[in-house]
């Protein structure tokens, strides 16, 4: 599955993608785990426990807020990605400080 999200120049962490397409999120880091994802005000169902769940949502038309809660060990380099065909589309890179909400604006076209 090719990457669906394309970075918009600004404001930061804003991406565009074709409405109706699925986007799957992953996280990398020594002990990084996504614990919750909320897209357009709705929590994504957590499936596949205890294996890492496929955090997948379908892009809606218009600009929607995506909130990702990640937990990792403090100080660890953490990347939130869109999972693509054998590659990862970097959405946000951070040195993990705490489980604060990571916020994206997704523009469905």
């Amino acid at each position: 599955m090719a990457c669906k999200l394309t970075k918009v120049a600004h404001p930061p962490f804003t991406f565009s993608g074709p409405a109706g397409q699925d986007v799957t999120l992953t996280v990398t880091g020594t002990a990084a785990v996504i614990t919750s994802v909320n897209y357009d005000g709705q929590p994504l169902p957590q499936q596949g426990q205890p294996a890492p769940p496929p955090w997948t949502f379908t892009i809606k038309p218009g600009r929607k807020v995506l909130v990702v809660i990640v937990v990792n060990q403090p100080g660890d380099l953490t990347r939130i990605n869109e999972k693509c065909n054998g590659t990862a589309n970097l959405l946000q890179e951070l040195v993990f400080d705490d489980a604060f909400p990571r916020v994206f604006f997704i523009q469905g076209t």
Binding site: P11, F13, Q49, V67, V95
Partner: protein, 513 residues
């Protein structure tokens, strides 16, 4: 007066430990410190435009900052209250050697902010009475003095908070006899005033100072991930963040974008190359962002408070879960000074070892050993100054999962006390000699033939409510007490309120009864 001395020492230590001088990175009013190298590059004047934009973006720590700024002066206390509510691993109430306690051993972690608990029932003394205990730690008192945000919340596994950790590990308690100020020699003279703290000097019954030494360990990644996946859902937390920020993605998007571009430019200015100058820019940035949010987010205050509550709840749940991994073993040194009813003032030195037996922390084993001595040599050398030695072992088992609104834990404990000599009673003038109708003309010291061993077994259930109320129920058997040689079987019911939860909701007021 010991209580005044203790408070005085704490008040002197707090400003020295916390000190307010140059703004630190953690003390910046806004800015996402998790953006790799952004802060360093901004201070060096080498930050790229994208680094500056990401530093300002409403994501990560900046979401918390926005909510705090929107919620105003009480914002941080809302979050701390939620953290406290989620952490149930605390022990309001008097220490085991104090009269009126329903605990056989001291727990490995003690409550964080001032707490008042009123308990009924006695375990190791002959009298039944009410004890009100104020319990706190230096971190919580420091936050009251210098402001909560000067000593920000740190997760249990964070390594960059040495001041908070040291202050948090220093705890104290002050106990007041709310029923015994009648000073009757008859045990259990509770009367109708039980639980009412009148603030008289005679009510002061003891104080405790304690330091916890946590044996921290680095958590293996596999254990860390497994523990994260066992946490209660973060969906409500994410939902609260989405509710706050959704309007910025719709009607407020253009204003937000313009705000980012404006302040990203200011972060490239020379003024941003000092921490003080940067803090000034970020203070203005935060205020302008709140103004944008207020213009576009309906019920901003309510949504900000809701997010802080959910954030604190999630953090508190996580801390409790991870405490079992990080602090598997806690060693504590404790000093108790107490004035038991009708007995001379005593001191107790105590060593405590507490160990979690499983990663989930549902099984906790605590061992105490202690020695008690009279503060002043008994008159005429009637008995030895060393009063007794004690040892206790308690197993706590969590019975109901974290998701339940009411937590239930079961405990079973065994307490052993060796009385080095006969117990010493001080009977004030005007009272009756034990077992007689003889009125004593003046203070008298009386010995009871209680030299030897005391053994007590107890099992109990404790209901932990989310609002900080605990209701312990228990039954104990003792072969004797330290004043009476007959065996006793007692039922106990207690009700304690942890004022951590209450006081976290507002800063300053500490009165209660």
């Amino acid at each position: 007066m010991p209580m005044r001395s203790l408070i005085g020492v704490l008040m002197l230590l707090i400003p020295a430990a916390t000190g307010q001088a140059q703004p630190t990175a953690a003390g910046l009013p806004y800015g996402d410190l998790s953006v790799p190298n952004a802060l360093e590059h901004i201070l060096a004047g080498t930050a790229t435009l994208e680094e500056r934009r990401q530093f300002l973006a409403v994501s990560g720590r900046n979401v918390e900052r926005l909510a705090l700024l929107a919620a105003g002066a009480t914002g941080y206390n809302i979050m701390l209250k939620a953290v406290e509510d989620a952490r149930l691993d605390k022990q309001p109430g008097a220490t085991p050697s104090s009269e009126g306690t329903t605990s056989l051993v001291s727990k490995g972690a003690v409550t964080q902010i001032l707490g008042l608990a009123v308990e009924q029932g006695a375990l190791t003394r002959s009298d039944d009475k009410s004890v009100a205990t104020f319990r706190g730690d230096a971190l919580s008192v420091s936050r009251l003095v210098v402001g909560a945000q000067q000593l920000p919340y740190c997760s249990v596994f964070a390594s960059g908070c040495p001041v908070q950790s040291a202050l948090q590990n220093l705890t104290f308690s002050l106990s007041f006899d709310t029923a015994g100020s009648q000073n009757s020699s008859s045990a259990g003279a509770g009367g109708s005033n039980n639980g009412v703290l009148r603030g008289t000097g005679q009510e002061f019954s003891g104080w405790t100072l304690r330091y916890d030494f946590n044996v921290r360990r680095k958590i293996p990644a596999g254990d860390f991930i497994a523990q994260v996946q066992s946490l209660p859902s973060a969906d409500k937390y994410a939902q609260a963040a989405a509710a706050l920020l959704a309007p910025l993605g719709s009607g407020g998007f253009a204003d937000y974008d313009q705000w980012v571009e404006s302040y990203a430019g200011q972060l490239a200015s020379p003024a941003a190359r000092t921490m003080r100058g940067l803090a000034s820019i970020l203070t203005n940035a935060g205020a302008d962002l709140v103004a944008i949010a207020r213009a576009h987010v309906p019920d901003l205050d309510k949504k900000a408070a809701g997010l802080l509550t959910e954030m604190g709840t999630y953090f508190g749940n996580r801390d409790r879960a991870f405490e079992t991994l990080v602090n598997r073993v806690t060693c504590s040194a404790e000093y108790d000074s107490e004035q038991p009813l009708n007995e001379p003032r005593q001191s107790t030195g105590r060593l405590i070892v507490s160990a979690r037996l499983d990663p989930a922390g549902k099984h906790q084993l605590t061992f105490n050993s202690a020695g008690t001595w009279y503060d002043q040599a008994p008159p005429g050398g009637a008995v030895r100054r060393f009063r007794d030695a004690q040892a206790a072992l308690q197993l706590d088992v969590g019975l109901i999962s974290d998701g339940s609104p009411v937590g239930v834990s079961m405990s079973a404990g065994f307490y052993f006390q060796w009385m080095a000599d006969n117990a010493l009673l001080t009977i004030p003038s005007g009272n009756l000699a034990p077992g007689t109708s003889i009125s004593l003309p003046g203070d008298a010291s009386v010995l009871l033939a209680t030299k030897g061993t005391i053994a007590i077994g107890q099992i109990g259930l404790t209901l932990n409510f989310k609002n900080g109320i605990k209701a312990p129920i228990g039954i104990s058997y003792a072969n004797r007490t330290d004043l009476l040689t007959a065996s006793t079987v007692r039922g106990h019911f207690g009700l304690s309120y942890d004022l951590d939860s209450l006081f976290a909701g507002f800063r300053g007021g500490t009165s209660g009864h």
